[in-house]
């Protein structure tokens, strides 16, 4: 029996009776990171990286049974050694290394390899079998260095601020939002946040991690403050009544999908920034190679294509069906739906 199997409940290590990122309730699980498609409610006990503890409590309930460990610490469960290693995806994100009788499997969760200056950078884990995401597993997805993207975001914000217009950027509440606040030029103006983003900020600060100063946007927020501000909100809030208070504003999305002009144009925002917390095509390939894995299992993203490509490169690969979503596609403008 393989060390890790894919059941209708999730990725399962039978030798240890532990699930990794399960999507149905189980007794014991290890969680790679706090995004909702990987960390779900209803588990008896959660084991995760120490920086994910407050985030899991914040998202899944204060009363969950959760334990955090640092990167590299080995946990022995029924003779199987588990350890967590930086995935560089979001704060607290980890790859799960599983070793049993000399055989090593690594489960990547979601990951990116570029150092974003905020999240502990990705580390390669040598293994026999690598279970990887491939959200952006096609050669058209290659990211610009984040410095040049942040230069663009800063320039956009600066222009808007000079014109007395608010700058509203939609980004994931956990991960992208903090990456943005940690990298933009805060001398341009204040950073205002949507409640969902601020909730994550609070949980992250509670873990002892420093973030730039942010102000949660409320009904009481001074309109004068909004004008030159950078407002960070989840995609679900932009262009809804919530955003009315911010008018006039220029809107943007930070997402890997923005690499494609068609997505950019159809997203109905002014600016699209191809900023992703997932590995791009060169990074996926480099990582697979660096792990030294002889077998690669793809779980979400362009799985069929990436597996086929790896097989043609001489690396045995196949796809397993999971409930992971990778980077969600930004909502299209409403005018497009009737077309």
């Amino acid at each position: 029996m393989p060390l890790i199997t894919f059941t209708h409940t999730g990725m399962y290590c039978a030798a240890a009776d532990v699930y990794i990122d399960p999507w149905r309730p189980v007794d014991r699980c290890i969680i790679t990171h706090a995004h909702s498609d990987h960390a779900r409610t209803g588990m008896g006990h959660y084991l995760c990286h120490e920086h994910s503890v407050h985030l899991l409590r914040h998202r899944l309930g204060a009363d969950i049974s959760v334990e955090g460990i640092p990167y590299g610490e080995v946990r022995n469960i029924n003779g199987v050694q588990f350890s967590l290693h930086p995935a560089g995806h979001v704060i607290g994100s980890a790859q799960v290394r599983v070793e049993h009788k000399g055989e090593v499997w690594t489960i990547s969760g979601d990951y990116k390899t570029e150092d974003d200056g905020f999240t502990p950078p990705f580390e390669v884990v040598r293994c026999h079998t690598f279970i990887t995401e491939c959200t952006f597993g096609l050669p058209v997805y290659t990211w610009e260095p984040q410095r040049s993207i942040f230069d663009e975001i800063n320039a956009w914000w600066r222009t808007n601020a000079a014109e007395g217009v608010a700058t509203v950027i939609s980004a994931y509440s956990l991960g992208k939002a903090q990456r943005i606040m940690a990298n933009v030029d805060t001398s341009i103006g204040p950073i205002l946040t949507h409640g969902a983003v601020e909730g994550c900020n609070t949980a992250i600060r509670a873990s002892g991690i420093r973030l730039p100063e942010t102000i949660q946007l409320t009904q009481a927020t001074d309109p004068a403050l909004i004008k030159g501000a950078l407002v960070i909100a989840p995609g679900s809030a932009v262009d809804t009544p919530w955003a009315n208070k911010l008018r006039p504003y220029s809107s943007g999305i930070a997402s890997g999908w923005m690499r494609i002009r068609g997505w950019r144009r159809r997203s109905a925002v002014d600016r699209g920034f191809a900023l992703s917390d997932h590995a791009d095509w060169p990074a996926l390939n480099a990582t697979v190679k660096a792990t030294g894995a002889v077998r690669v299992i793809t779980t979400h993203g362009y799985t069929d294509q990436f597996s086929r490509w790896l097989n043609e490169q001489g690396i045995e690969s196949h796809t397993e069906k999971t409930a992971f979503k990778g980077e969600e596609v930004p909502a299209a403008s409403s005018e497009e739906t009737s077309a």
């Binding site: 050669p139 068609g262 909502a331 739906t337």
Partner: protein, 533 residues
């Protein structure tokens, strides 16, 4: 090229019409004259002819990027645009775009005369020396499909701001035949060289779809109605002893319709008619499908003339005796038109009959007859309206008949292109033939984003088999498919082909067995093709 690339980037970075117009205006102020001319040409659908096969481009790009062809194709499918897919996939370190837009277009034109090896070398060389936006534009110039999210109307508005010439006049100046390589900017904008003026059509007046009950339009006496014919909108011009036929797409199609040549002498010089190029036989219009056999052809065979004959059904007169009549009310133009058509005495020139109605209910009844007389519905024109440039609300309305519908079962699904590349949105539907489900149409559009996601989830969870990109799914869901026409088609398993099929709604109230049958489709076919060939 750098300036043009910046223009494209600037227009991409805004959703505001005003900002786009401003970007174009700024561009016109700075760009060299021949770049300006080419920009106007590109934004009014005048592009250099495609100079090489897209298959070549795909192969070269895949090889340059060191990816197998299937992977290039998958990537292209996801991106949805070949020019962009190549721009993204071919590696390059260039970060600016030297050379002018005109120089790049000249290279594109020159490709045609090159050997295979030279072509590849020239194209690959450009890919390596242009940045991503530059490569995208260059590829667009090669492939000939240049749609960049700014309409001709906006371009004309910017050009008007730049030159001070009124928009309507500019729109007219830019109509017809002109070649960016053979004209000076000032000549295009201001002067009226004889040759160009002789063949130049007027900008078409376009109708909006009626979105209110006709009763809301007020007094029926103020309105004139005709049937809306299902052919190709066209302008027929006779000036200085020459005949010119323009399609609505501003394509000169005189040679495609030799039937009209008799009109060159039968109509007085200085006549411009607006009407429909319509297939016609045995005293009534034929199906649009008949006309389609002639659209793509440059030469017309005797057989086509016999099997797909056309007439010109005129509904407006824009010029008479060389005088522009567009400021007259349509009631006055119509009276003059009737005289012109009558005096021409040519069977190939017909007039679109006026539908007489005293009350709106009369017109409602006439509209129901539309399919019987082979029209798409009713056109309504305000009697005192003049002939306006482009689409303006209020004077002209098209009131199409309700679509035909049939309930089909979802049977196959394929991932969409571009935006929908992650979702199974290209759907195939089937009807019952006894206990068997026979596919009869594909449909792509009509679902909301939420419904699309639901269909996608269903497809992923209920896949029976995968055939390359296509999946067969467990039959379960019934959708109402709307379409504009139905024709016999031996190429399809069902024996019919639908015109403009789309998903009208998801019939969650219906079960699998409630879907329509092949017999129902055949009944529709017979009801709507009687007499057509």
């Amino acid at each position: 090229m750098q300036r043009f690339a910046q223009l494209i980037e600037r227009m991409d970075a805004t959703n505001s019409t005003n900002d786009k117009v401003q970007a174009l205006t700024d561009y016109f102020a700075e760009a060299p004259e021949n770049d300006k001319l080419w920009t106007i040409a590109l934004l009014s659908h005048r592009r250099p002819r495609r100079s090489l096969r897209t298959t070549d481009l795909k192969n070269w790009a895949a090889e340059e990027a060191h990816v197998p062809f299937w992977l290039f194709d998958e990537s292209y499918h996801i991106v949805g645009d070949l020019s962009e897919a190549i721009a993204l996939i071919v590696p390059s370190d260039a970060d600016n775009n030297s050379g002018t837009l005109t120089e790049h277009i000249e290279l594109v034109i020159a490709l045609k005369g090159m050997s295979e090896t030279e072509r590849r070398a020239s194209v690959v060389e450009k890919w390596k020396h242009l940045d991503q936006t530059g490569r995208f534009i260059f590829n667009k110039l090669i492939t000939g499909g240049f749609r960049i999210g700014v309409s001709q109307k906006l371009m004309v508005r910017a050009l008007s701001k730049h030159t001070g010439v009124a928009e309507d006049q500019l729109a007219h100046q830019l109509m017809g035949n002109w070649d960016p390589q053979g004209i000076a900017f000032a000549e295009l904008i201001h002067a009226d060289s004889d040759g160009a003026a002789r063949s130049r059509p007027y900008p078409f007046c376009l109708a909006y779809a009626l979105d209110v009950p006709p009763m809301d339009l007020g007094d029926p006496q103020e309105w004139m109605a005709e049937h809306k014919w299902d052919g190709i909108r066209g302008q027929l011009i006779v000036r200085e002893g020459e005949l010119y036929v323009w399609s609505r797409g501003e394509e000169l199609v005189t040679d495609k319709y030799p039937e009209y040549h008799a009109l060159r002498t039968a109509l007085p010089n200085g006549t411009v008619l607006d009407g429909e190029i319509l297939p016609w036989g045995d005293g009534h219009p034929l199906s649009f499908n008949v006309l389609q056999t002639r659209i793509g052809r440059t030469t017309v065979s005797q057989r086509a003339l016999k099997e797909a004959p056309v007439v010109f059904v005129a509904y407006d007169l824009l010029e008479l005796d060389g005088k522009d009549l567009r400021e007259l009310a349509i009631s006055e133009r119509r009276a003059l038109l009737e005289t012109v058509v009558e005096q021409a005495q040519q069977p190939v020139l017909r007039i679109s009959p006026v539908v007489v109605f005293a009350t709106w209910n009369d017109l409602v009844a006439e509209r129901i007859r539309s399919r019987e007389v082979r029209s798409e519905g009713i056109m309504l024109k305000r009697r005192d309206s003049n002939y306006r440039v482009g689409r303006k609300r209020g004077d002209w309305w098209k009131w199409k008949v309700d679509a035909l519908t049939i309930d089909g079962v979802l049977l196959y699904a394929q991932r969409g292109h571009g935006r929908r590349a992650d979702l199974f949105t290209d759907l195939t539907f089937a009807v019952w033939k006894g206990d068997e489900l026979v596919p009869f149409t594909k449909a792509y559009s009509g679902l909301t984003d939420v419904e699309m996601k639901k269909v996608d989830a269903y497809v992923k969870q209920h896949t029976i088999e995968k055939f390359g990109p296509v999946r067969s799914v467990t039959p379960m869901h019934v959708f109402e498919i709307a379409f504009e026409g139905i024709n016999k088609s031996p190429r399809h398993k069902s024996g019919v082909a639908l015109r403009f099929p789309r998903i009208h709604r998801w019939r969650t109230d219906k079960t699998l067995r409630d879907a329509n049958t092949l017999e129902d489709l055949q009944n529709l076919l017979h009801a709507h093709t009687q007499g057509a060939r």
